[in-house]
Amino acid sequence: MDNATIAPHRLPAIPSIRASRGNAVAERAWRALLLGLITLFLVNIALMIAAVATNSFASRWLGTWLPQGWTSSWYVDAWKEFQLASILWVTVEVVVAVVVLSLVLGVPAAYTLARREFRGKRALMLLFLLPLMVPPITYGIPLATVLYQTGLGGTLLGVILANLIPAAPFVILVMTPFIEQIDPNLEAAARVFGANTWRTFVHVLVPLLGPGILAASLLVLVRTIALFELTFLTAGPDSQTLVVALYYAVFAAGVRAPQSVDAMAMIYMAVTLVWLLIALRFVNPTQLVSRVKEHPQTA
């Protein structure tokens, strides 16, 4: 086999480009189909929410387009019936505690994971990612078992601890890119001027991380309000959060009037939506989904 370049005219000719068979009609039909699916999806969800809202204001509604009459008494009833005041208070306690504690645990850990290399780092990262990838029911059942055995089951502290398990890793996941964005030279500069690790962290990093911390708090807040399974498994009658109370209300819907259940559902939705809208002002919607970002080395 000789090494010389084979003369082009002795090689098989290069075919010319064929006009693609794809026609504009098929392309447009496909686009219409996708658009139709998305519209169907969104419209139905909107109508679903509207149905709940309408029902919550209805005095009677049986199989017609709109209710026979309107009233807002269900809300008052729901408030009293479900003891919403105390449930809301419990929800606030749980959510605030979870947010604060997850930040305290997660931000320093995220810092170390983002900035340092050490033996066992990969294992540690896996440890932190697991609670986000394993569904709450799967680890919730053993967790509830342990909590009840140690007497924490059914208490407010138990609920807080349980909700903290997916929250702290989520903070780590969200904060890591924020930390990576900060120029490491800033820390080096702080050191040169005499700050030790702790003071660098508190005086230089935490202020710079402000937006990230805000984002993480809002995300944890929204997720914790909606997180059902863990609270359901570990709560006692006086440590239920709003979403668990809603579940019980729906569950017993045969006994209670569906309108009052819907009124409660609207209250729950209002609480969630308010925080969601606040969160969306500061946060990119994609971050609300727990994104497990793959590192190129592990792909």
């Binding site: 387009w65 850990a109 540690l124 078992t145 055995q149 809603l246 559902a265 969306l280």
Partner: protein, 289 residues
Amino acid sequence: MIHAQARVAGFDKALLFVVPAALFMLLLFVYPFVYGLVLSFEPKDGGALANYHKFFSSSRLWPTVGTTLKLALPATIINVFVALPIAYRMRVRSRWQRVLTTLLVVPITLGTVLIAEGMLTYFGPRGWLAQFLQVTHLYDGAIRLTHNYWGVLISLVISGFPFAFLLILSYITGIDPVLARAASTLGADRKAQFRHIYLPLLAPGLAMCFCLAFVQAFSVFPSAVLLGAPAGPTRVISIAAYEAAFEQYDYSLASAIAMIMGAVQLVIVAFVLSLRGWFYKGPVTGGKG
């Protein structure tokens, strides 16, 4: 980014920062899991494997695996493979992309319980959808979309699709669009660009998305109870675990069921992830980017 920090003296205090979080994880995640695993081998009566034996021999228990799979797999397949073309269309950063992304976040945040209640009201036999279908004569007769398999499946799609969509969108937008442009100058039309450039580069992300969506769907719980028929057709494995723990107070059996649940998930996830090994591994930029 690898920062090789020269440590001037002794021990890097920053490493201490992970300790509280790591300790917390170990105590409240790893320990209960291990405890549950051990507990599952210590049943109320019988030998070490009695719980597992009971699970696979009781006709109230082992079919739950199949029931759950019959719900989770179709829901995941729908979610992932409908999200894919839509996310592909949305890969260009535009106002539509932002609007759609924001709108889709709403069902995620509202949660499964609210979706269940909403579906009961809207999809119920006397809800708006039924009325609409009747009025337009698209379908005469009662629709049965609640308190059965379909109700749960629909709710899994409603709660799972936005998640899959956002995740796939983030993977797609991570692929450098200049690669598709280069392919087009070499003669690749839209279909060829998707087939030869995007699809292979997306495959690892798609597999990941499938696994995450499947795991979420497999652990379905409140929807199965509220929207399904928990006594029979939608008796999913999480219901069985819950009953064992909180109705029969048999924590050992409950742990065993949770372990089985985790094992089935693991098998399917491992299978899907092994498929992605056939495709490309590595960064998705096109050069020294």
